[in-house]
């Protein structure tokens, strides 16, 4: 966490020494390309809060997803991370992301590189046109990043970046594995914070740090196991920002613990490596287009399988389906997931619709407590 705290200052120093900083929002942008161009990638899912959200409303309607409003509002209010950006990459996934890139292009004076992401691509890879299209979009992104950085993304540089990112992903998956144990020596809150640190801090430094953490956990977990009878909850849903701990805090205060997630800022982000045994650009297409998809993509079964597998292996007793207000893609699938988890694993699901405001803490607390009581059979 010290690394994260010092990050704005270290970024400032890097910029002073000539490094460029490139931000992105959605998990469909291969940050390996940014790193291979010698630039610093930042995934921008931090800095929530009513101030940024309301600043975003100068551009977008209040019934737009709060994350999208925040992604614009943070720039408008001068969030330090946003102020250091030399460019942003926007994956055109949901309607919100599409609008986001429009507003950034029109109102903020930095390059915006858009990447079209075919929604109909599926796990059977039956739509070759989707794969071809995405490949060409990534080729364009590569060219744009090369132009911005003045550095050619050679095969060697890309391979090095992919290798580092694959190692990071592998270590992060190990961290998530520890959460499955009945009495884990690391909490989900810690893993979630580490995950977010991984979006912002220097990647090779981050790799060293999580390698150390994983090593420590390996040693510690050989010790005596305590029993932990807290109710085990899995979390799935909309993008969850770093400071958005409302649900987590309420779950913990109500005497339960989160043991797994399938969030795009959590375990889903670290799933699936880029294959190194073929052309690397094709490897990026394979990894980014065919990772467990966001609900903006039409292949519901693929994400359903992932969520069921995570719930099963983590021995979750209930699932919280976290939907940001106005996030239509997640919200409209809540019932499908509820029915599937009930049918497959006999696990109840509870839908929470919220936004970045403390206004609904009281009602959300009551709902979460009632859900947990139901799980405990009180």
């Amino acid at each position: 966490m010290r690394m994260l705290k010092d990050r704005p200052e270290s970024l400032r120093l890097s910029k002073e020494s000539g490094s460029k900083v490139v931000g992105y929002f959605c998990a469909y942008i291969p940050e390996e390309l940014i790193a291979a161009a010698g630039m610093i990638p930042l995934r921008l899912v931090s800095g929530i809060g009513p101030e940024a959200m309301h600043a975003g409303e100068q551009y977008l309607q209040s019934y737009t997803c709060p994350y999208i409003r925040t992604c614009i509002g943070n720039k408008a209010i001068g969030n330090p991370y946003y102020e250091m950006l030399d460019a942003v990459c926007v994956a055109c996934t949901c309607d919100g992301m599409k609008k986001l890139q429009e507003y950034w292009k029109k109102y903020f004076n930095i390059p915006v590189f858009t990447v079209g992401v075919p929604q109909t691509s599926n796990r059977f890879r039956t739509r070759k046109q989707a794969i071809d299209y995405f490949r060409e979009e990534l080729d364009d992104l590569k060219k744009n990043l090369e132009k911005l950085s003045g550095t050619k993304i050679t095969n060697k540089r890309l391979r090095e970046a992919v290798r580092t990112h694959n190692l990071i992903r592998g270590r992060m998956r190990r961290l998530y594995d520890y959460l499955k144990e009945e009495s884990s020596f690391i909490s989900w809150r810690d893993v979630f914070q580490i995950s977010h640190a991984g979006f912002l801090v220097d990647r090779p430094e981050f790799l060293k740090e999580i390698t150390r953490i994983v090593g420590e956990l390996k040693t510690t977990s050989r010790g005596e196991k305590k029993t932990d009878k807290r109710t085990r909850i899995m979390l799935y849903g909309s993008v969850m920002a770093f400071e958005d701990t409302k649900v987590l805090d309420l779950v913990e205060r109500a005497g339960a613990k989160i043991v797994a997630d399938a969030l795009c800022t959590g375990s889903r982000f670290w799933r699936k490596d880029v294959p190194l045994d073929g052309p690397l650009m094709e490897g990026l297409v394979e990894r980014y287009l065919h990772n467990t998809p966001c609900p903006n993509m039409t292949d519901t079964a693929m994400r359903l399988n992932y969520v069921i597998a995570r719930a099963r292996e983590s021995h979750a007793q209930g699932m919280i389906y976290y939907s940001l207000k106005s996030c239509d893609t997640f919200r409209s699938e809540a019932k499908v997931f509820e029915e599937a988890l009930e049918g497959e694993l006999n696990i109840p699901t509870f839908l929470i619709e919220t936004e970045y405001s403390p206004a609904d803490i009281g009602t959300t607390r009551t709902k979460i407590e009632a859900f947990l009581e139901m799980l405990r059979g009180v």
Binding site: Y59, L60, Q61, Y63, T64, C65, C92, C94, D95, G96, K98, K99, Q101, E102, Y103, K105, K106, T114, G116, P118, Q119, T120, R127, K128, Q129, A130, D132, Y133, E136, E137, D140, P295, N296, T298, T300, S323, K325, S326, D328, T329, R331, S332, E333, A334, K335, V336, E353
Partner: protein, 399 residues
């Protein structure tokens, strides 16, 4: 009792004799698909109906026919079924109502399949999936990639492949083999309608506006599915055009339109409640154009050359799915042609697509056209009368 008799508090231009036939045809769409006996495909608003006709099936514009229900005395539970099925009550009201009405029919629905358009509107795409799942009917999603002038070549190639896949896969399901000849014929039929709609739009450029906003809106909304009978529709639209042209020759405005009205162009989603169009005229304005369905008839689809490629190119340039700035700029020539005094932008509460473009669209119109622009926002149809003071004040200001 006919459905038209159920219509409440909406004033139609009864002197436009041929329009009354169109209205009847419009209201009978639902019973027509019940009786059709063939395959009926529920389609998204701006999905070109030619594609479905070319598969030997009948298109049904779900938002149009199942979304405007609050105007008629139907089931009061207009959104309940959709919310029970999993949609948020905060979603776009057009989708909520259409989904709810469709789900409420259960097994009685004559719909055989849902065709969704991925990439143009998330909530439509998701509601189509939801209806398909709940009603155990198949769904096929055709994707239109994000508009970016720099990626035109690959995007058109992508759309062409999407069209080919759709014709192959849906054709196989329907037992109907796709042929370019059939598609060309359907495009020709559709282009006849497009030309008529463009003529009617052109008639609104006259100083004496010969059609009211309500008649114009309903007329151009027929582009959604050609009311299941393209030939019959062509005949009626031809009669409407002739009647309207007669009015223009006689320098007669449509009844209800004041002398020297404020000429208004409407951009965006329309309210579900048809009384909205009456309010415009009651406030001293006149609708001289509307882009709600314009992307379906903005220009004829090329009939020659490489048909699928040309069609893909036409779909790519539909002035709807473009980013806000491109969309605004592509609309400007159509707006200028209609000589409006002012523009109204309609935003649907819960729409994360068009309505989220409001600021960019408004600023672009103001900068490029130099005329007053206002935005209105509406949710359910009960709100429509609340818009009246806003519209009246805007019209007064424009005078």
């Amino acid at each position: 009792m006919t459905k038209s008799a159920q219509l409440t508090e909406v004033l139609l231009d009864r002197r436009l004799a041929s329009f009354n036939r169109l209205w009847q045809m419009f209201m009978e769409s639902e019973s027509r698909i019940q009786k059709s006996g063939g395959k009926v495909v529920a389609k998204w608003r701006l999905f070109p109906p030619e594609i479905i006709y070319a598969l030997g099936a009948t298109p049904y514009d779900l938002l149009l026919h199942e979304g405007m229900t609050k105007t008629t005395a139907r089931d009061a539970r207009t959104t309940a079924y959709a919310i029970e099925a999993g949609l948020s009550a905060d979603s776009c009201i057009w989708n909520l109502t259409a989904t709810s009405n469709t789900l409420s029919k259960g097994n009685l629905t004559p719909l055989n399949m849902f065709v969704a358009t991925a990439g143009q509107c998330d909530i439509s795409s998701k509601t189509w999936q939801l209806m398909s799942r709940n009603m155990h009917k198949p769904i096929y999603s055709m994707e239109i990639p994000i508009y970016d002038a720099a990626s035109e070549k690959r995007a058109i190639s992508f759309i062409k492949e999407e069209l080919t896949s759709l014709f192959e896969r849906v054709g196989r399901r329907f037992g109907h083999k796709y042929s370019e000849r059939t598609l060309r014929e359907e495009i020709k039929r559709g282009n006849e309608i497009r030309k008529l709609l463009l003529d009617l739009t052109g008639s609104l450029t006259h100083d004496h506006v010969p059609m009211t906003g309500l008649e114009y809106f309903l007329t151009h909304a027929t582009a959604g599915d050609y009311l299941q009978e393209p030939e019959a529709l062509t005949a009626i639209l031809t009669e409407i055009r002739n009647e309207v042209m007669k009015r223009t020759e006689q320098s007669k405005a449509a009844p209800g339109i004041t002398n020297d009205p404020v000429r208004l162009y409407y951009v965006g989603m329309a309210p579900q409640d048809l009384r909205f169009w009456n309010i415009i005229e009651d406030s001293g304005g006149a609708i001289v154009g509307c882009d709600t369905y314009l992307p379906l008839f903005y220009s004829p689809i090329p009939e020659n050359g490489s048909l699928l490629k040309e069609f893909a190119g036409w779909i790519w340039k539909m002035p709807h799915h473009m980013p806000s700035l491109d969309r605004a700029k592509s609309l400007i020539p159509y707006i200028k042609q209609q000589k409006p005094d002012a523009i109204i932008i309609g935003n649907v509460i819960g729409c994360r697509n068009l309505s989220s473009s409001d600021r960019i669209i408004k600023e672009t119109f103001r900068e490029e056209l130099g005329i007053p622009v206002t935005s209105i926002e509406f949710g359910s149809s009960e709100d429509v009368t609340l818009l009246e003071p806003h519209i009246k004040a805007f019209v007064e200001m424009c005078k």
